[in-house]
Amino acid sequence: MTKLTPVLSASWDQKDSFTIEGYKRNGGYKAVEKALSMAPDDVIQLVKDSGLRGRGGAGFPTGMKWGFIPQGDNKEHYFVVNADESEPGTCKDMPMLMANPHVLVEGIIIGSYAIRANHAFIYIRGEVTHIIRRVQQAIEDAYKAGYLGKNILGKGFDLELVLHVGAGAYICGEETALLDSLEGFRGQPRLRPPFPAIAGLYARPTVVNNVESVASVPAIVNNGVEWFASMGTEKSKGFTLYSLSGHVKNPGQFEAPLGVTLRELIALAGGMRNGNKLKFWTPGGSSTPLFTEAHLDTPLDYEGVAAAGSMLGTKALQIFDETVCVVRAVLRWTEFYKHESCGKCTPCREGTWWLVQILKDLESGKGEAADLDKLLDLCDNIAGRSFCALADGAASPIISSLKYFRQEYLDHLSNGGCPFDPAKSTLFELAQGGAR
C-alpha cells in the first residue's frame, strides 16, 4: 500500500492542535531555537540543500529564493506569506492553518531571520473568518511567549508579524498583485523585472512564499536535510499535501511523498464514488491543463506532471466522473477567469470575455464547429501575452479539454444543447422532489 508521510498533518487529530500549548507539546518552537543559534546564511544553505521547492504552484526552490535577497544593502527586508489560497480546487493551506497556525508562525520566524527581515506579513484571503481568528490568536500567543517582538529568545533578533486580510480577489494570489494589495492599492500584477527579491513590498527586497513551503521549514530544521530528501523523487524532494475532491468516495487531504500517482491516491480515497468511471481531473487546480484516465500513473511531482503536459501546481486534484459535461466544467472555470481578471492587460481582460461568449454558445448548442478553432486562436492570443499567469491559466482548461474531448464539444452542436443531466453529478438525489 502507498506509504503516507504525515508531517505537517501529524498533529491535526488532536483537539487542541491549533493552540500554542498543543503545538509545543508536539515539539513546536524547537526549530526556531535551533535556527536562531545558526548563522542566517547557514539557515539559507540548509533550506537550499534540502531541495524544498515552492508548494504554491510554480515549484521554485525556496532556499534559492531566500538567497536572492541582497545582504548588507542597508535596506529593510520583508518576509511575506501568500495565504491567499484561491486557485479553484486548492484546499490545503486553509485546513492546515485551521488545525495548526503555529507551524506557519515558526516557519516565518526562521525565514525572516535567514533573510534578515524584521517585518513579516501573512496575506490571507478574507473569506475564511475562523481561520483568520486562529492565525490572529497564534500570532498574539507567539508574541506573549517571546517568539515574536524584540530580542526573540534573547538572540538579538527582532520581528514584527502582521496578519493582513484580503477582501475577495483571486488575482491577489499572484505575488506582485499581492504586494500591491498589501501596499493599499488595487491588486494588479507588476511587470517583472524587477523581481520582488530586489524591489518587492515598498520597493524593498522581499520574499514571497506559499504557506505550505514556509510551514515545511521547521521540520527540515529539526530533522535535517537527509531526512527530508529521503522522501520524494530526485528533483522533487520531500512530502506534500495532496487534496482530493470531487467524485471519489472519500475526498480529503493526503500527505505523501512527492511522486505518488493519482491511481494510488484514488485507492486511498476509497475509489471512485458508485464505482463510476474517471473522466477528467486537474493535477494542480483549474489553471493546470486537464488530465484523463490515461494519466492515472503519472508521478505527481514537478517533472512527472510537466512531462505529461500539465503542471503540478497546488496538487489540487479535482476528480470528475463520467456524469460530468466537460464543456459545462470548462465554461464555469472560464467565467471564473473572466470575473477575476484584474483588467490591467487587454488580452486577458477582453479575451476572457470573448471566451465566455463562445463557450456559452457552444454549451447551449448555438455555436458552430468553427468556434472550436476560434477558441484555440483566442487562447493563443491570451496565454503568454499578459503580465501574469492568470491569462495562461484561463487558456489551460480550454486547450486541454479540446485536446481530449473535442467530440464532446461537437456533440453539443449536433444535440442542440448539453447531452448531460447535471443532477447525476451531484452528491445528492435531486430526483426526490428536490428534497435532498
Binding site: 488545525a99 475532491s245 483549474s286
Partner: protein, 210 residues
Amino acid sequence: MPLTAADNPVMDSIINRYPRSRSAIMPLLHFAQSKDGYVTPDSIEVIAQKLNLETAEVSAVATFYTQYKRKPVGEYHVGVCTNTLCAVMGGDAIFEALKDHLGIENDEVTADGKVSVEHIECNAACDYAPVVMANWEFYDNQTVQSAKDLVDAMRQGNPPAPTRGPNKLPTWKENSAVLAGLNDGRAHEGVQAGEPTLLGLKIAKDQGAK
C-alpha cells in the same frame, strides 16, 4: 453606527500595524463594514482623511474587491460556491433553490433584512463540497434541504453553528471586525479539523498500526 471620532483609537491601532499607513486601507474598509454593514460614502471620506489620501483613491480600492459591499447585505450573508467543482457536486442546485426559496436574486437581500445571497468562487474547502459560506464561516457538505433549513433558521434569528467555526454564527458586522484584525476571543471555539482534513492522517495511522 457610522465611523466617528470615537473610533479613532481603533483606526490608529490598525494604521500602526504597518510601516506605511496606506497599507491600512483594506483593514479600515473591513472595519467600516463592521460599523455600517457596507462601505458608505461617509466612511470612504473618513478613511481618506485618516490616511491623507483622496477619496477617489480609497474608492478605487473599495470597488476592486468583492468582499467590500456598496449597499447593505443581510444580517446573514450567504455565499454559495458555484465554481466548477462545487457547482457540479450540487452548488448550482443549491444556489437556484435558495434564490427561489427566498424570492431574491443574486446579491439581493430579503425584505426583513435578514438574509442575502451571492454566488461565490472557490472557497478552499473543495473536499467538503458542496460548500456554503455564511458571513464567511464554513457550512460544509450542504444539500438543497440543509441550505434551505439554514436560511429559514437565519430568518428566525437562530441559525445553527458553522461546521468548522465558532459555536454560534456571528453577524455580518461582528465578523467584519474580525476581518479588520480585531480579536473577538473565539479562536478556541469549534473543531480543529473536519473528517476529510483528517482522512490521510487516519489512514497513515492505520497503516502504522498494521
